[in-house]
Amino acid sequence: MRDRVHRGRLAVLFAIVTSLMLTLLGRMWYLQITTGPEYARAATENRVRTVSLPPVRGRILDVHGRPLVTNRTRPQVSVDYMTLIHQPDRGRAVLARLAEALDRPYEEIANRARLCGQGVSRPCWPGSPYEPIIVADDVDARTALSIAERQDEFPGVGTALRPVRVYPLGTAAAHLLGYLQPASAAAGSGGGARLVGRDGLEAQYDEVLAGRPGVREIAVNSAGKVTGVLGEQDPEPGDDLVTSIDSRIQKITERALATTIAKARKRGEPADAGAAVVLEARTGRVTALASHPSYDPAVWGRDLSQQDFESLPLASNAVLGQWAPGSTWKIVSTAAAVRAGRKPGASYDCPGSYQVGGRSFRNFEGAALGRMNLHRALVVSCDTIFYRFADQMWRRDGGLDPVRRPKDPMQAMAREFGFGDRTGVDLPNEAAGRVPDRDWKKATWERTKEATCRRAKTGYPEESDRKRAAYLKALAAENCRSGGVWWAGDAANFSIGQGDVLVTPLQLARGYAALANGGKLFSPRIAKAVVGPDGTVLRKIKPPVVGKVAVSRKTLSYIRDALADVPREGTAAGAFAGFPFDRLAVAGKTGTAEAYGRQDTSWFASFAPAERPKYVVVVVVSQGGTGGSTAAPAAREIWEGIYRLPARSSARGGGGR
């Protein structure tokens, strides 16, 4: 037995030892019993990874079921991020070997194997580190096989056949179809390497096409190595989208547009952009939609640098391009004039110029064409007759001191034809165009008044051309003083589609479709139906009627008859010389819109057959010269293509406007 001192000290030790062990027990209780369920959840998260299995995206088909976009399986090489970073050198050696086997630069492979994040520029992997990171696309099968066989040399490297988007039409319909981009993490809903439509039909019908990704739950160990599959749900493939696009006509349309632009450039016109639209006149379906410049959608299958991406002409001029419509606008002016009481068959003088508000507004090239009815006015595209109509209407509305509710018959008619408003076509981006009127002018003036008035004082010292600087200064001074006023001249300009009017090619096409079909204004549709992977039609898509042009059938018929003579003997006669009108009566209207500081915008809006129109074809070439010389020949080529007519022997564009 030890003495009292030792016993006391041992008692202290006893107390310490006991309390230490009880402390452990208490903490263990807290950890395992109190917060145990939380840690059990953490443990599951620790070892279970959810990998998203990409579904096969639906195809986009043309009206005959021919694919516009489809999928092809390509051998792809991917790396497993978790395996790589657990290599002693963080996978550098493996990637170097891989780069060598693929015959690609190491940098490229290594960059693609990075995870995207702040300060990491393309290329990088936008998805989850637990998904296979694709480092090489379209590897030839032999290389892929040899990599797959040497797993010991390539730990964490996988090869698989994966579907990629392919475009059987080549460059055709690139804008229409749109493209896919990785869903950004910010967009939520899984994000990762999932691709979503970013433009065109791919974006508009993304939900239809995308399908539902499958989910695979895998168990991993601490090294991220997969130890088993816990559950798997197969992906559901996306539905196919059947469109009203006719790939044959689409190709013809694009070729015609490209050809005419090339020819215009050869003639010395800038011809910097263009678009062409083929619409079914009676249904509002889009048969072809072309935009120039275009790009090859195959770029999406390749690795695209940020710079290349930004330099692609992604905007479709068919729906985003806006130009003054020029004389194609006269169908609106004519309809408005007739509704306002003008007799179409009466005789009107077409002088070389007409005085509006103290200023002389001239005919094209100042020609005086004598007396004529409205039929003739459309055929020869007389401007002065419409100037007078506009001037009279403007004065009836009170002129500079407008009545409380001006009728603005021309603007009202323009809106009935669907201008100044988005067509609502099934594409994600669309411009609205512009129908200028008193209110618009005033609002614009108020918005810009300050800058304009400053310019009226300071002038344009930075302008080297002194004449131009003086002109701009005078303009600024006038605008500062009375810019918000809707002058008679504005009304006159409006009547012939000049000045501040802006239309998109698709808007003009549906306006002409309304003229052709008796007044029905459609919201055009490209998609026709959604078809399931098994071929069943899941949904039919019909272009809705969104308006009615309140003009008598007689008037519309009168205008159509007039337009039927334009290619035969009017402004498009040169372009349609030798055209077999007996086989296809094409009716149309040329347009040559002036743009300050730029070459004229060349338009041709047409429909055929004239008696019972089936299609509407609209072509525009920015800075392309007169409508008759550039746009009309392209339209002719499209018509010939649609109806398989013999191509014109002598390709000679007329000078008509």
């Binding site: 000290r9 202290v12 006893f14 062990m21 395992q32 145990g36 059990a40 070892r47």
Partner: protein
């Protein structure tokens, strides 16, 4: 309190038994010299340890880990038995030799013979997979040496004198200094705690203890102020206060350990059925983090069982210390108790997020030859102290064959 009470017989002390007499009763003394109240719990802990090591290493390519540990446990029990058969005074005679051998071993670690494992240069490599950690054996040697100094009282003395305490401090300082070069701060702490605990148990005056505590605090302060603390050590402390601060970096061990233990719940997922263990989420799981396997697979009940078994061993050790016939035995047993208690607390504490991460094994349970053998030897030391107590079952001629 459940310290097992001794049974009624109060036998005479068996002093001065001749070696011959002991040889005669050798067979009986196997059972008699071992104290079953510590041996059986220690054996159970070793058994649990083997199961847990098996579980932690069953997916490893190196299957020899389990058999090595079986061998270590076996050697440990042999050594335990051999030590417990010795009379305490005989052991005391070996002290100078053991102590010097220990110092030699700790020096050898610092020579090219030494080997670095997990950042600590604490191993001596003997070739073909054989290696040992002198600092583990040094713990036994230190306890023996300090007991010899602090427990050897002059006639009439009831507590060690100033000279004895200073000598004890000097004896502890030498190995501590050598281990600083490895460096292995966990082991240094164990040495410090053993020394402090033995001085406490020896009955040294309270002001001395207060002085020691003050000196210890000062040392910690100095180490901190002089910037001797490595950045990783500060970070280990930071991670302790906020384990989620860096879950994939420094906090990884701590976080994973806590997830493994916490997910065990009350009953655990069952032996060999721990997902976290199978997935090797906790690093060093068969050695310093063996307790996480227990936590996940055996749950709170299994963990509590381990801790209570250890507490039982410690209580029994304290009882042996209390009943020791000599101050030497008291101090010796006290040293063993301090060692096992501290190391258990630090090891389990770090796995459950109570203490920062240090590289100390869990006595009896963790994989590791040197640690297993030296802790079992320490149990043998308790056995030898018990020989000279009034506890029942001690070897006397009157014991039944």
């Amino acid at each position: 309190m459940t310290i097992p009470r001794p049974f009624g017989i109060r036998p005479a002390l068996a002093r001065g038994r001749s070696r011959l007499a002991r040889a005669r009763t050798a067979r009986r003394s196997v059972s008699a010299s071992l104290d079953w109240w510590v041996t059986v719990p220690a054996a159970v802990l070793c058994g649990i340890g083997l199961l847990l090591v098996w579980s932690a290493t069953r997916n490893e390519p190196d299957v020899s880990l389990l058999s090595r540990q079986v061998l270590s446990v076996f050697l440990g029990f042999v050594l335990m038995w051999l030590v417990s058969r010795r009379d305490p005074r005989v052991l005391r005679a070996y002290v100078p030799v053991l102590y010097l051998l220990t110092l030699a071993g700790l020096v050898a670690v610092l020579t090219p013979l030494g080997r670095t494992v997990n950042g600590s240069h604490a191993w001596i490599f003997l070739g073909s997979g054989l290696q040992f950690q002198p600092s583990e054996f040094a713990k036994v040697a230190l306890i023996l040496a300090l007991a010899a100094v602090l427990g050897e009282l002059r006639e009439g003395e009831r507590r060690p004198g100033r000279g004895a305490v200073l000598l004890a401090l000097a004896l502890a300082a030498a190995p501590i200094g050598l281990i600083m070069f490895q460096p292995d701060y966990g082991t240094i702490l164990v040495f410090a705690v053993i020394t402090g605990g033995m001085i406490l148990v020896s009955g040294a005056p309270k002001r001395w203890l207060a002085g020691l505590a003050a000196a210890g605090a000062l040392a910690v302060l100095l180490v901190w102020l002089l910037g001797l603390v490595q950045p990783y050590q500060i970070q280990r402390l930071m991670v302790l206060t906020d384990p989620d601060a860096d879950p994939m970096g420094l906090g990884y061990n701590a976080t994973q350990a806590r997830i493994a233990i916490g997910s065990g719940g009350l009953l655990g997922k069952g032996l060999f059925r721990g997902d976290q263990t199978a997935g090797h989420f906790v690093p060093e799981q068969h050695t310093d983090f063996i307790f996480t396997v227990a936590g996940e697979e055996l749950g709170f009940l299994g963990c509590a069982f381990i801790v209570l078994l250890m507490l039982f061993v410690l209580w029994r050790g304290l009882l042996i210390a209390a009943r020791s016939a000599t101050p030497y035995g008291t101090v010796l047993a006290g040293g063993v108790v301090c060692w096992l208690a501290f190391q258990t607390f630090v090891n389990v504490g770090m796995t459950i997020g109570l203490l920062p991460i240090t590289g100390l094994p869990l006595p009896f349970v963790s994989y590791g030859g040197s640690a297993t053998i030296s802790t079992l030897t320490a149990i043998g030391l308790l056995g030898t102290v018990r020989r000279r107590t009034d506890l029942p079952g001690r070897p006397t001629g009157q014991s039944q064959p």
